[in-house]
């Protein structure tokens, strides 16, 4: 009997885990609370800026989105693995005829669907802008695509953080810290401060160009769907999912 999985069986295993995880989100009230808080905070901040600025675009929303995601995404992902470890269901999962990457992908996709559902909750803003005038739909589309890429990436390191600990709060804190590193390293003031610390090495600029999500994400919010930005998010997400898978394998040793 071979241990190789046929593509059909590989996808089937992911589907089983995906379905269980989606049900877990639906069954727990805490998920609705997170999504509601995220929507209320992000939309109310947008409405405030919208009335002050008086422009028919969603820039105020998408500009602040990375900061909201720093706090929101870890709340989605923190239970993903930490709960499996604390309830010992990890043993149940890891003794099923599934390979660990199927479980990782299943969990990741379910978290992504939950995030997208929360993001879809902002669609009334688009409808309102359409009702009020003629917003740039191309710009809105590319910004949503950026939000999807950004969220996908945050979810990947959120899952990785959750796999490092049995404690959900610790998982949340690790993911928030990682989020801050990836977002704040693109903040103008932080870049200036870091550059000022060691002017010869331009650490701030180096981090901005190589590590930060900001330049890649802001390309989308300016209406540019650039391949390097898409690849940046894709490869970094894949890297963290791979690390998550590695940490699961390490636990068997």
């Amino acid at each position: 009997m071979s241990d190789r999985l046929r593509p059909k069986d590989f996808a089937r295993g992911i589907g089983v885990i995906f379905a269980r995880e989606i049900n877990a989100y639906v069954d727990t009230p805490i998920a609705y609370i997170y999504a509601s808080v995220f929507l209320i905070l992000s939309c109310s901040t947008f409405m405030n800026a919208f009335f002050l600025k008086g422009a028919l675009d969603m820039a105020p929303y998408f500009d602040l989105l990375p900061y909201f995601l720093i706090l929101f995404i870890p709340a989605i992902t923190m239970r993903a693995w930490a709960e499996e470890y604390s309830q010992h269901t990890i043993e149940l999962l890891m003794t099923m005829p599934l390979i660990s990457i199927q479980i990782v992908i299943g969990k990741y996709l379910s978290a992504l669907v939950f995030y997208l559902t929360a993001l879809l909750g902002t669609s009334p803003i688009v409808l309102m802008l359409l009702f009020l005038g003629d917003p740039d739909l191309g710009l809105i589309f590319s910004s949503y695509l950026g939000a999807l890429c950004l969220g996908s990436f945050f979810l990947s390191f959120g899952l990785f953080a959750s796999g490092l600990t049995r404690n959900q709060i610790v998982a949340y804190v690790i993911a928030v810290l990682l989020g801050f590193v990836f977002v704040l390293s693109g903040h103008e003031k932080v870049v200036e401060i870091l550059d000022g610390l060691a002017p010869a090495y331009h650490i701030g600029n180096l981090l901005y160009e190589s590590l930060s999500v900001v330049p890649h994400y802001s390309a989308f919010t300016r209406g540019i769907i650039a391949l390097p930005a898409v690849l940046y998010f894709f490869f970094l997400s894949a890297f963290f999912l791979w690390m998550n898978n590695r940490s699961l394998k390490r636990d068997r040793e």
């Binding site: 009997m1 071979s2 089983v16 069954d27 309830q87 043993e91 149940l92 003794t95 005829p97 040793e253």
Partner: protein
């Protein structure tokens, strides 16, 4: 057929088990006895492919547990000592999830689910959330989940934990009814329970396998009466 040869497991610098060797054949009900922390769960976890042995070899039906974990998992029903269940799930949904994850679908899943519900007596609370069930009932759900794919090998870690005396009796009957052509290895630190349930015993203490055999043979070897408790105490004292 399960073949365990010179298996050791170290957690960093801590030795969990060492020099563990035994083989199990279909039709055997084997009790794995030892005090808490003796290494029973570690051995079962390695057999279930959850843990990798640090050294030694485990083969199941000729397949190596390290290089063929998926094939082995298809043959094994495993109940961990912690009874891992998704507490927020309904009992029927949980069993269906376990079946699907093990590749069952359609009529086979339906048939196996009905079988497991019947033999484990799960019908009274089938549509309840798991966290609303009693400890003993949860244990039965765990046994049901381990059996859902009708595996030829059953590994049960402290399966009667939380059972009342009547449930222990029912469990004994269940195990007897399942034993034909199946390997059943279960662990327990409750000696009378093991002696009534199993044909053969593996006695483990401080990570070492002290004895392997039928209770009559062990009594003969140790010069003790045919009483598992006396044999166990004799072997442990000898080891210490």
């Amino acid at each position: 057929m399960i073949q365990v040869t010179d298996v050791a497991k170290w957690y960093g610098s801590i030795r969990a088990v060492e020099n563990i060797s035994f083989s199990l054949a279909p039709g055997e009900i084997v009790g794995f006895v030892g005090p808490n922390g003796a290494g029973k769960s570690t051995v079962l976890k390695m057999l279930a492919t959850y843990l990798l042995p640090t050294s030694g070899k485990i083969t199941i039906d000729g397949l190596d547990a390290v290089s063929h974990p998926l094939s082995i998992r298809r043959k094994i029903g495993y109940l961990s000592g912690d009874t891992p269940l998704y507490q927020a799930m309904r009992v029927d949904k949980f069993l269906r999830f376990c079946g699907k994850a093990r590749g069952l679908s359609g009529n086979v899943l339906k048939k196996n689910l009905a079988w497991v519900v019947d033999i484990c007596g799960l019908s009274p609370h089938l549509y309840k959330r798991i966290d609303q069930c009693s400890t003993g009932f949860r244990q039965r759900i765990g046994v049901g989940a381990a059996l859902i794919h009708d595996p030829p090998i059953l590994l049960l870690d402290e399966p009667t934990h939380g059972f009342d005396p009547l449930q222990v009796l029912a469990f004994r009957d269940l195990i007897q009814s399942l034993s034909e052509n199946r390997i059943i290895l279960f662990s327990s630190h409750i000696i009378p329970e093991v002696s009534t349930l199993s044909d053969r015993l593996l006695i483990i203490h401080q990570g070492n396998l002290l004895a392997d055999g039928r209770i009559d043979n062990l009594a003969e070897k140790t010069g003790q009466p045919r009483d598992l408790e006396a044999i166990f105490i004799h072997l442990v004292r000898q080891e210490n």
